[in-house]
Symmetry: C2
């Protein structure tokens, strides 16, 4: 079994460990933030961590009402800008905690008077030391080049933070069990994968809480399957990119119940007119019915809880497609685990 | 000649008209913002306008020090969130000014106490009426489905605003002339295009001030040439996506002189090792030399002034490639000019 597959399977336990070990600490940090005059949250990340942050952006804005900005590190690292961040919460997100540019942004943010947090898998990392508080993911060392358990670990922290800062009740303690249920789709995923063995390009769409997942699955398909995978919000997809869709063009959709359902159904209708090939990862019977193929994620969950259970079959899809294409997902060509950028 | 090509050629004059007609107004708005307690700028847009905003984000953060957030409209339209925007400047960017979701976000922002601006081609549009102040692009009605002159018109307004709010001297009055010079590359572009007639996928990269351009060229290639065109910052491209690059894979780079030069040269070196096919749009002799092919944009300009002159040959490339592929760029399959999203 590849390291990637092993680590995908470790996720329910890893998520559980983080909740048990860190819940009190996050509540304490949340109380501090609630009592502060913070009116901006800035998320700083690259790669899969940036995709987790894209999810965090939606969740934090919707649940706390505090505007969120996804940082452009080069504004600090290359252009040397000094931003007004006195009333900002700046959160660095990095598996290794050694991204040079991310750490430089955190340093600058501290100088500017921001309160800083680090979400990382490595408690002894540079990032954990720079930030005022470090939130450690209890997933164990991630050995596969393709991030899986750290991605969901980062997402979990956004749930915990959102619950601690905002007033919305998020049942995140149910997520490990829902993720376990999603792992039960593995045989079904394997059966689907055979059909996509020769796919060389596709589009992945998701919206709102599942927008980050569309970026993450596209990245996994690029790095472990060498598929040219585009990623869009289902809304933006109508602005131009739809023109690339021709007969049998593969589109993978994260399509939960909830507020994005209607626009996803409209997109599926349009894709069906264009004779595209759609695969939905969903918990909604109608979305499953309107797509060419679907993976129905088990368990009762509202839209806010879907992102982690939905990425699990997507990770399995990438790992098994990689194998079906004769690629080793743990050793993608041209890549290294830690990327140093300035 | 296609409407798209006509409108590409109208750009230098359109840019000049906007500067002459609106410079004073923007200076007045800038003075107002400088004296206010605004500590956040939110940009709201979709499609090409969103790509212009991606440029605006870098320019405004670097020149004014005010953090910028690119709005996720569904946070307001689908999730009904109320964000803390009392000290925010919220800028809607839309060619037609009739994007339902963009207008809803502006409405909500006004209710929340934000100061709102509209950047639009249509002075009588809904958006122009909602915003506290409307900044009108003097480009004439845009008839082609593919936005060109409104994209550069929107970018120009970010230069004018940045100059009026921040302290950095930006020689934006030179941009119309530089754009005119870039149009002189048309014959060279045509000669290059023949080689790409059968390209069906590619990657477009740019960084910092030219990051938005990479999104915009990719969008143009998708909508007018049906090419599956990925877009990345040259920095993110090393985080996973590089794995899709194989021998002869086409990569188009916006590679100016200035602070992004070094990382772009490193990427070109890596692409050369992978035997990829690179085409650089550049004003730097070394970047031109290190890429497989290049379009050398004429005229003296520092990095901050490159985005508009650089997108011009890119627009020409898309328009002529569309023709070479036997497509009508004014009538892309599956698309309409105004997209209503909620």
């Amino acid at each position: 079994m590849s390291l990637m597959l092993q680590e995908i399977h470790e996720q329910p336990d890893a998520l559980e460990r983080t909740i048990v070990a860190e819940r009190e600490k996050v509540t304490r940090i949340g109380d501090f933030i609630r009592q502060s005059d913070i009116d901006l949250i800035v998320l700083v990340a690259r790669g899969s961590s940036d995709n987790a942050s894209l999810f965090g952006r939606y969740l934090l804005e919707v649940t706390t009402g505090i505007p969120v900005s996804l940082s452009a590190p080069s504004v600090f690292t290359l252009y040397g800008a000094k931003l007004r961040l006195k009333r900002a919460l700046v959160i660095g997100v990095s598996q290794s905690g050694e991204g040079t540019d991310i750490n430089l942004v955190l340093d600058r943010a501290k100088e500017a008077g921001a309160f800083t947090l680090a979400i990382t898998n490595e408690p002894e990392s540079t990032m954990a030391k720079i930030a005022h508080e470090a939130l450690v993911i209890h997933a164990g060392r991630e050995k596969s080049v393709a991030a899986t358990k750290t991605y969901t670990g980062q997402m979990l922290y956004f749930y915990m933070l959102a619950s601690a800062i905002g007033d919305m009740r998020l049942d995140f303690h149910r997520i490990p069990e829902l993720a376990r249920g999603a792992l039960g789709l593995e045989d079904e995923v394997k059966a689907h994968v055979e059909r996509y063995a020769f796919m060389d390009q596709c589009v992945v769409v998701g919206r709102g809480m599942n927008y980050g997942n569309s970026y993450e699955l596209a990245l996994k398909l690029m790095e472990t399957c060498y598929v040219v995978a585009e990623r869009f919000s289902s809304a933006d997809f109508f602005h131009g990119p739809l023109a690339i869709v021709e007969r049998r063009f593969p589109v993978i959709m994260f399509g939960p119940t909830g507020v994005t359902r209607q626009s996803n159904l409209e997109l599926l209708g349009r894709l069906s007119e264009l004779h595209a090939d759609s695969l939905a990862i969903t918990n909604d019977a109608e979305i499953a019915k309107q797509s060419s193929r679907s993976l129905l994620v088990p368990g009762e969950m509202d839209e806010f809880l879907t992102p982690i259970p939905f990425i699990v079959p997507a990770q399995l899809f990438a790992a098994h497609l990689s194998a079906a294409k004769g690629i080793d997902p743990d050793a993608p060509r041209s890549l290294a685990k830690v990327t140093k950028t300035l």
